[in-house]
Amino acid sequence: MRKNILKLLENNSKLSPKEIALMLGLPPDEVAREIAEMEKEKIILRYTTLINWEKVGEEEVSALIDVKVTPQRDVGFDEVAARIYQYPEVKSVFLMSGSYDLSVLVQGKSLKEVASFVAQKLATIEHVQSTVTHFILKKYKQDGVIFEDQITERRQVVQP
């Protein structure tokens, strides 16, 4: 039941427990209880909204930064990651397999702001060996949602 509730909420956090209950054919109070518990257990962390900021005319710069970490005794990736994710500019941090170790998504108001964050904050963290910054030029799809307005109705409006 939890998985089904979560799948619905992941796509549309506006759904009420009652609506979810209807859609899944479950008792509403049970769904409400289950959601509350999952919030408590930190399975549900936050209810967010996916926004196309570009359409609002809001300038926003994001960069994906590949971070290489110098392996050290006593200092694992977790510690380095923790130091990085404290910064509010950092939106997400992933441990990666392959040619670098951490993938860091940084957001700022301008190119300069992001660049200086990387140079002054990120690169200077102890055990950070190197950084490679990739600025994001355009978002096509995020969290399974395509940003283009091509999803207009193409079907005939009334059919037998």
């Binding site: 619905l8 549309n12 209807l22 899944l24 005939q156 409006v157 009334v158 059919q159 037998p160």
Partner: protein, 403 residues
Amino acid sequence: MSQNRNFEPQRFISPVVKNLRPSGIRRFFDLVANTKGVISLGVGEPDFVTPWHIREACVQALERGYTMYTSNLGMPELRRAVARYLEERFGLSYHPDKQILVTIGASEAVDLALRTVLNPGDEVLIPEPCYVSYKPITLLCGGVPVEVPTTQARNFQPNPQEIEKRISPKTKLLILCYPNNPTGAVLDEDTMMAIARVVEKYNLLVLADEIYAELRYDGPPVSFASLPGMQERTILASGFSKAFAMTGWRIGYVAAHPELLAAMVKIHQYTILCAPIMSQMAALEALQHGLKDISYMVEQYDQRRRLVVSRLRDMGLDCFEPKGAFYVFPSISVTGLSSEEFAERLLKEEKVAVVPGNAFGPSGEGFIRCSYATSLQELMEALNRIERFVARYTRLAKAVAHG
């Protein structure tokens, strides 16, 4: 075009075609198309785009130069895949070379079946409300449509006694479309068995339009042909449009007794030659790797179905619970409006399009068909608008009743 006053096109049009009533939906379509900002629940096809791997199979086929005719019957691989699918999903065994014909959608399958068996004057039993094409095609074949009303009180199940009552020496064929468009009804087991007994007793054929077979919310799909003694008497019309979200591909099939199939192939080879090869390639991919897509879509439809039924009932509309397809067919009698009034005013006042129930037969009067093959967001907005509308007219109807 120059106008020659002596040329009268109408004189050339056959009386059968001239007298054919234009689809009730057509008129309503123009009304909706000319209104801006409409949320349409009048659409009879999936809101999903054909799954990417199926589209890709078509792209690849084109890249490899598959642009030719196929066998009249359709590609042998596709017919084998259809046979395997019918066996696995419905327990039906058909010979891929003698009993399966690939068609231009279930539409062609229905047309072929009727043209193959009907003599002028033959009567065709058609439970209604139903899909709009059976009656006109019957008329085009010189047949006589005999409608069998179904009612919400009996869960839109065709009543075997009502069927039997309408059987005459001229009756040849019974058309069954379940899961049903527009009601969403599926045949319950007892009804199916009883109908099968009537069919046997009067030596009838059945045309089973099972295009919605996969969209079932109460258990696995069932085919009428799988009932004891029914396979040889059933012409099974189906296709890929609804189950795999492939309406625009125009691809379907018909499965029948070898002799009936051979007769249908005669018409098909002269009128159609063969179904388009690109669509056949895509259909093959759908059957080979697309069953998981069906279960995903069915899950989505099911969630919306529950929501829509419950919301409509909360508004005070008497709404039959559909067990298949992607339509709900609520009664609108509390509003005091006719089906067409309801649909037209809802469109004008709240910009939501639904299809008036009487477009599907006289028994559809007092109902509307809403499709839930629409995104959840749109569906919820449409329901909010319908709720406002129904509340307004229910109040009015009550005030009138109390004088």
